[in-house]
């Protein structure tokens, strides 16, 4: 292990002892934290010698003197809204902010709550399930999260519960040299349905390493949106574990716009027959941004299907990585798995890496992947300009054309429109309403 890799765990050791000593929570949770911290000590911070982290530059982070988060007041105006009625939970620096939240009436026995509070009131919904899903075992930031998480959200829907009102979870971070570890636990029992929008944003120089665990029972349907819009100085390492039962459907939208260094690792286990997993990724990276998506879709049962479309728009000296694995186990016959990665370069200095991978151990399957990288078509740009459309609007129209089918997957109209504006603003493009 290199010296740099050892540095962060050493800095954390006293923190963890202090952190753990203060907490009043079930023993099972305390044990989980200790185990996770030990795992982190073994793993260390990732280095570029590790294949999985080869392209991720953590040197910036290692200069920081990481502090625990502090409590700061945040104005409600600083937080995004859905412009729709929503169950809204806001967290500032990893802690629940009731004043910025709005909880609405829920169906019987269903629960949307701060996971910190729910641990006291409903430990039975958390203790048996926290950190139980497979995946991300080798992910140091996921281990740090399990060791240090303070709060986050719990969504529990009993069998057959359909929650139409979107669930909006906002994680706002503000401070400097601070690390936050939000935790999300989503449990949709048999036939339950929910739409969840998770937004990460903030101001200042901080590390955000959230972990989401989503468990879908048979026939459950989850629409999950992750909107990563961290501050331009932030590091974001998010982990998502997803486990799907028979005939369940997961629609996961990963929108990554912010951060200096941002990465999402998603592991989906299709553990019931006929499960479907649709992944829709859209990344915008500019200036010196680095943005990375690592996805592993594991087909463990027959008749499952998965569709992945990941797009990146890059400007300036930005770099992106898409690393996508489709794994089909021997037993998972009749699997249909697709993966597409497309990159649009707006600058000659930007760099997109795509690494699609297949591991197919069953013989009767349909699997395919493809990857393309290209620049804006100068002929198309000229064509638009020759009709009077300004250069910046022409570029906006072409970028929008590239990103449009990703945005169109998002069914909440105000959210989709906000994201289209964000995309345009992020590229300093002239944006005009579509029809």
């Amino acid at each position: 292990m290199t010296a740099a890799a050892a540095a962060l765990p050493d800095r954390y050791r006293p923190d963890f002892a202090g952190f753990a000593a203060d907490r009043r929570e079930p023993d099972a949770i305390a044990r989980l934290r200790r185990k996770a911290f030990t795992r982190f000590e073994t793993l260390g911070l990732p280095t570029r010698q590790q294949e999985d982290w080869r392209l991720t530059d953590l040197s910036g982070l290692q200069q920081w003197n990481l502090q625990p988060p502090t409590i700061v007041p945040v104005d409600a105006g600083a937080l995004p809204t859905l412009d729709l009625p929503a169950h809204r939970l806001a967290f500032v620096n990893g802690r629940y902010a009731p004043g910025l939240s709005q909880l609405r009436e829920m169906p019987d026995q269903a629960l949307i709550a701060s996971i910190g509070q729910a641990l006291l009131t409903h430990p039975e919904l958390i203790v048996p399930y926290l950190d139980r899903l497979p995946g991300l075992e080798q992910h140091p930031f996921a281990a740090l999260n399990t060791a240090f998480w303070e709060d986050g959200a719990l969504v529990y829907l009993p069998p057959g519960t359909v929650v139409e009102t979107p669930i909006h979870l906002i994680f706002h971070a503000t401070g400097s040299d601070m690390a936050v570890y939000p935790r999300l636990l989503l449990a949709l029992d048999e036939g339950a349905q929910a739409t969840v929008i998770v937004e990460y944003q903030g101001a200042g120089r901080y590390l955000n390493a959230p972990v989401t665990e989503a468990r879908l029972g048979d026939d459950a349907v989850l629409h999950y949106h992750k909107i990563q819009q961290e501050s331009p100085a932030a590091f974001h390492f998010g982990g998502i574990r997803l486990q799907q039962g028979r005939n369940s459907e997961a629609y996961v939208h990963l929108l990554s716009f912010g951060g200096l260094v941002a990465r999402t690792d998603l592991e989906a286990l299709l553990d019931g027959e006929g499960a479907n997993c649709t992944l829709n990724g859209l990344t915008l990276a500019r200036d010196q941004q680095f943005s990375d998506v690592h996805v592993r879709v594991d087909h463990a049962q027959p008749h499952g299907s998965s569709q992945q479309v990941f797009k990146s728009v890059l400007d300036g000296k930005a770099r992106t990585v898409f690393d996508g694995m489709i794994h089909v186990r021997p037993h998972a016959q009749k699997t249909d798995a697709r993966q597409v990665s497309r990159n649009l370069l707006l600058s000659r200095q930007a760099q997109a890496n795509s690494n699609p991978r297949l591991e197919i151990l069953a013989d009767d399957v349909k699997c395919g992947h493809g990857s393309t990288t290209g620049f804006l078509n100068p002929d198309a740009e000229f064509y638009l300009r020759a009709r009077g459309i300004s250069a910046s609007r022409a570029r906006a129209m072409l970028v929008h054309a590239f990103a449009n089918d990703s945005l169109n997957q998002i069914r909440l109209t105000p959210l989709r429109e906000r994201l289209a504006h964000l995309l345009a603003a992020g590229l300093a493009l002239d944006f005009m309403e579509t029809e």
């Binding site: 002929d379 000229f382 638009l384 009709r387 459309i389 129209m397 054309a401 590239f402």
Partner: protein
């Protein structure tokens, strides 16, 4: 309205236009004919302001304004239109959205408010009838999957909607059947007015039966080697360009 003086232009370091002089007055239609590779599209692209076409000498003015100093979109907003020889496919940008963006860009340039939705809808339908275009084309992406003829028709449709003061039509008639040819001609003739000018690039005399030009020019090796009335087109149809392949003296004699 459009004045071209001693225009020299290079593409990728190669001189393609070698001193073109051409004046089109308001209300006039000029035709340009010439063999493949003689520089017709290059001239059209230089007028429209395409990147990569470098003017090394000479000038172009449009209503007295220096055209070469303007960005392509400014030229369009000033009332210039190029019907492309090869219209570009733009997947993901709907035709209707594109047209509205174009109309509003021009209006903004003139200091006018954005077009009223109802007015726009009417304008679109009226022009669609003129070029006999199907409504389904509006929802489709710009030129994507259009047949050759549909692409050309779409160029005329855009021209009819934008109503430019000066239009350069680069082989808009190529690859069209007779009916489509008439549609293109109708599109141009409907716009013809004492204030408007046209530069029609074509290989076929046939088009000029429908769009009767005031003058015909022969472009050869990047120069206008001959100009004349509409009968020049008929002569070219019969004799081809072989004549101009000889030393320039003969071409001049033939012109005399």
């Amino acid at each position: 309205m459009l004045e071209i003086r001693n225009l020299h232009a290079t593409v990728e370091g190669r001189e393609i236009l070698n001193g073109i002089d051409l004046i089109v007055r308001p209300g006039e239609v000029h035709a340009i004919m010439g063999p493949n590779g003689s520089g017709k599209s290059t001239l059209a692209n230089v007028i429209a302001g395409r990147e990569g076409y470098i003017v090394t000498e000479g000038e172009i003015t449009f209503d007295g304004k220096n055209l070469l100093e303007m960005a392509p979109e400014t030229r369009a907003c000033e009332g210039l239109f190029l019907a492309f020889q090869y219209p570009v496919e733009i997947p993901g940008v709907a035709n209707l959205y594109f047209l509205k963006a174009a109309v509003n860009a021009v209006r903004k340039y003139r200091g006018e408010p954005s077009v009223d939705a109802m007015d726009f809808w009417e304008l679109i339908h009226q022009r669609m009838d003129l070029v006999k275009m199907d409504e389904s084309m509006l929802k489709r992406s710009v030129n994507e999957g259009f047949s050759g003829g549909e692409k050309k028709r779409n160029e005329v449709f855009q021209m009819a909607v934008l109503q430019p003061r000066f239009a350069v039509m680069d082989e808009t008639d190529s690859g069209l059947d007779i009916d489509a040819l008439k549609v293109v001609a109708d599109g141009v003739n409907a716009l013809r007015s004492p204030e408007r000018g046209f530069l029609v690039i074509t290989h076929y005399q046939r088009l000029l039966d429908y769009i009767v030009p005031d003058q015909v020019h022969v472009l050869f090796n990047g120069r206008i080697v001959r100009s004349g009335g509409k009968e020049l087109a008929l002569e070219l149809e019969e004799q081809g360009y072989a004549l101009y392949n000889e030393e320039p003296g003969r071409a001049r004699r033939a012109a005399a």
